[in-house]
């Protein structure tokens, strides 16, 4: 506390001195007030967050990426929400909670979802939330024939609406969604964000602003939009008419600072109160300087997909041998300084179908060599691993790939690494593994077990879907299909765990690490919780003694 006051004082002197030098020549215009810029005094409760990149559009249905959903979900809400006030350590999977739907009923056959829309909720523009508004939003994402249909929103959310056949609002408090078959992940998918989301926007704003609606974001959430200066700030203010628990903060400012060392410097100097993605080597010194480290266990897996069409990685024993040869513990502890956990299961721990296992693929070089010999490859072979050089959730992909390269060299596998910049790589990855490529890396994951279907279903083989290794297993497909159609959660989760076992035994994927999504906060930031998601709830956050 005293230090920060001293800081304000010293900076104030410098600023005033500069102003004295320049203001007379600057036609005397501009700022009249003489006070130092910093702090704002008077107990202002504005949290400033240094974020890792410029945000995408503030249209929650269209926007991609976790960075943007962390902002959008403060302004917008979906029918179903998830409880992010409980830390990962207490809730491995965040519980689903009522959002803009006060409650819901699912028909016996699992095909009809009836949502009871929360009454008395208003959008930030004063219009009332009702069932018609919800229907209007769903049609924007799903109904090609509706005037408000948006191809981007549809593209982002298509996995959610796959089986939807009809949406109706029979009365102002009820929305009925009908599907062609049961779809057990539906509720959890409604609460997801990151690649689009189903958050509800004000129909009035959608009609009034059309194409430009992202510059006028109007939702129902705990914060309202204040202003956005691209590259500089997105500022939000507390929604004083919020239907739920109102935030303690007066406002939040999100400041994009793409350079990791600049972000750390901004935190140290007090320009921001909190940062995401600190560089791994800065964390220890920040903590010893009195900053708080907040980590969770979000649904994140940094993993390899094996190319099933490849002459080597198409062999099960080879895939198992690679899994056994990789030193996940060493990578997590030494290369990444403990900012990640080693991953042995294909599903992230923040997932109901996670299976805690280390036995199958703990490092065992001797066994890996035996397996290779059994496959007739005791002399080893050459293959290619593709990855990016940067990108969302990728941590430090190139050094991690090199670590794997060294591990595999020990069992005689010579790995060539091919890297590309993120967006180029995303396209390369989505095209699927090409000839000679044995493994493709990416980071992904969701809290819904349905994610496994997205990356391993035979119907979603690249380039028609994210199954980039062309994995095809009829037994797995059948189990996943039953899981999707299960009408009670326990049965569904049991089936998803079975699917998980099949993929693990087949070694179709090689999970490597789970990120802990570290945030570093100033000592006076209170109430921030790292829940098991890639995003956070800011309602409980406050600033002490500012």
């Amino acid at each position: 506390m005293p230090k920060s006051e001293m800081r304000v004082g010293r900076r104030g002197v410098v600023t005033a001195g500069l102003a004295a030098m320049f203001v007379p020549t600057a036609c005397g215009g501009g700022s009249g007030s003489g006070g130092g810029g910093e702090g704002g005094g008077g107990g202002s409760q504005t949290l400033v967050i240094g974020i890792e990149s410029e945000a995408d559009v503030l249209d929650p249905q269209v926007a991609g990426g976790w960075v943007t959903w962390r902002i959008n979900r403060q302004i917008f809400e979906a029918l179903v929400d998830e409880d992010l006030t409980t830390p990962s350590s207490e809730a491995a999977v965040p519980e689903l909670t009522p959002g803009l739907a006060e409650s819901w009923d699912v028909s016996e056959d699992g095909k009809v979802y009836t949502f009871h829309v929360r009454q008395g909720v208003t959008f930030h523009d004063g219009t009332a939330l009702d069932a018609a508004a919800v229907e209007y939003n769903i049609r924007r994402m799903w109904d090609e024939t509706s005037p408000q249909y948006n191809a981007k929103a549809a593209g982002q959310t298509n996995f959610i609406w796959t089986f939807v056949t009809d949406v109706q609002a029979p009365d102002p408090a009820t929305v009925v969604v009908t599907m062609s078959q049961p779809f057990s992940p539906f509720l959890r998918m409604l609460a997801q964000g990151g690649n689009g989301s189903t958050a509800i926007m004000s129909p009035k704003a959608l009609q009034e602003f059309g194409e430009d609606v992202a510059d006028h974001p109007v939702g129902t959430g705990p914060f309202t939009f204040d202003e956005r200066i691209r590259g500089e700030r997105i500022s939000l203010l507390r929604n004083d008419t919020y239907w739920g628990t109102k935030p303690a903060l007066d406002g939040v400012v999100f400041r994009p600072i793409p350079d990791a060392s600049a972000r750390v410097a901004a935190l140290r100097s007090g320009d921001v109160d909190m940062i995401s993605v600190p560089s791994p080597d800065s964390v220890a010194s920040l903590v010893s300087a009195g900053f708080q480290l907040s980590e969770g266990i979000p649904p994140h897996v940094w993993y390899l997909s094996f190319n099933m069409k490849d002459r080597y990685t198409g062999i099960k024993e080879v895939r198992q041998a690679i899994n056994l040869a990789i030193d996940r513990e060493g990578m997590a502890k030494n290369l990444l300084a403990g900012t990640v956990n080693p991953a042995y299961d294909v599903q992230a721990p923040a997932n109901a179908a996670y299976v805690e296992r280390t036995a199958e693929y703990s490092r065992n070089v001797a066994r890996a060599k035996d397996l290779l010999a059994a496959a007739g490859l005791s002399g080893g072979f050459e293959t290619t691993l593709t990855t990016s050089v940067d990108g969302s959730g990728q941590i430090v992909p190139a050094p991690m790939a090199e670590y794997i390269q060294q591990n595999l060299a020990e069992v005689g596998i010579k790995v060539k690494i091919e890297t590309q910049e993120w967006i180029s790589y995303l396209s390369t990855w989505a095209k699927g593994a090409q000839e000679g490529v044995g493994m493709m890396q990416i980071s992904w994951g969701m809290t819904t077990p349905y994610w496994l279907y997205i990356v391993t279903s035979s119907t979603l083989q690249a380039p028609n879907g994210p199954n980039v290794g062309y994995y095809s297993n009829p037994e797995l497909d059948a189990v996943m299909s039953s899981a999707i159609q299960a009408t009670d959660e326990e049965t569904a989760n049991d089936l998803w765990r079975q699917a998980n076992d099949i993929v693990t035994d087949d070694a179709a994927l090689a999970p490597i690490v789970n990120d802990k999504a570290p945030y570093v906060l100033a000592s006076y930031v209170k109430g921030f919780v790292s829940a098991s998601e890639e995003w956070y709830d800011l309602r409980s956050v406050s600033l002490e003694d500012v």
């Binding site: 800081r7 900076r11 600023t15 102003a19 600057a26 501009g30 700022s31 009249g32 007030s33 810029g37 910093e38 702090g39 202002s44 504005t46 400033v48 410029e54 995408d56 559009v57 269209v62 991609g64 990426g65 191809a151 981007k152 549809a154 593209g155 982002q156 298509n158 690649n195 430009d212 200066i229 691209r230 590259g231 500089e232 700030r233 400012v253 994009p256 600072i257 793409p258 350079d259 060392s261 600049a262 410097a265 901004a266 140290r268 100097s269 320009d271 590309q420 910049e421 967006i423 180029s424 995303l426 396209s427 390369t428 990855w429 989505a430 990416i442 992904w444 380039p463 028609n464 994210p466």
Partner: protein, 318 residues
Amino acid sequence: MIAVLRRLGSTVLVLLGVSLIVFLLLQLVPGDPARAVLGAGATQESLAAVRAQLGLDKPLAVQFLDYLGGLLRGDFGRSLTVNQDVSQLLLPRLENTLVLTGAALLVCLVVGIPLGILAARHQYGLFDRISMFVALAGACVPVYWFGLVLVGVLGLSLDLLPTSGMYNSRNPGGFEDLLAHLVLPAFTAALVPLAVIARMSRSVFVDVLQQDYIRTLRASGLSEASILWRHGLRNALPPIVNIVGLQVGYLLGGVIFVEVVFGWPGLGQQLYTSITQRDLPVVQAGVLFVAVAFVLVNLLADAAVGVLDPRSRRAVRA
């Protein structure tokens, strides 16, 4: 007059060439804008739909001509990723970059030219040797590194100045706030051009001071200050102005790194983001803005030389 018209004509050709090259280069870079929008899980159908919405399914030539047509109407197109008018997106960024470039240029001129002149005046003296060594070192220092050192020393250890952004985030202030945020990035951006300007000013001045007329002026008993600042400077100025013009171009390119280190919301940072997102219209317009600024500055520098040096006017006419 004809020379001026010819110059303007070639400027238009240069800009057209720049647009075409940037357009083609971005086609060569792998990566699909629709994929950049929709991410890893997108299906082929949704990608195709988004490509159609963005107009990316048209033939390349049509896309380029559409772009040029828009340009003539003053329409730079719409950003593919942030869905905003490109000019609306870039003009504020350009303004921020110009503020930073202007401040850096001011530092260059106010420090660089006098430094060079004084060094020339005391040729081979201690001041000359020290200042020129520092200038040489300055010209060799990576901007990125120098910025981080300034942040570390002045921003963090001494805690004198803010380290990032343009305004205070909690309480965005007016001119004072901007000024405080400007100091570190402006000095960082100025470093290399300042060093170049100082060294070039010195060598120009060393030449000038050896001219016969200077000897004549000295012999006629004029004060050293008058010789240096009145007669010497007037003759040394044209080449210095030319160098400064080129250095402004260097500054416009170099501020990209400075903007990244200091989180300055300028054109450079926006270009960087847009290139990584394959946001073609934004990249095209951004590069065009920089090219226009570069060409204009050099045009201005040439015009200034014409005003300062009657001989060059005669040369153009001839």
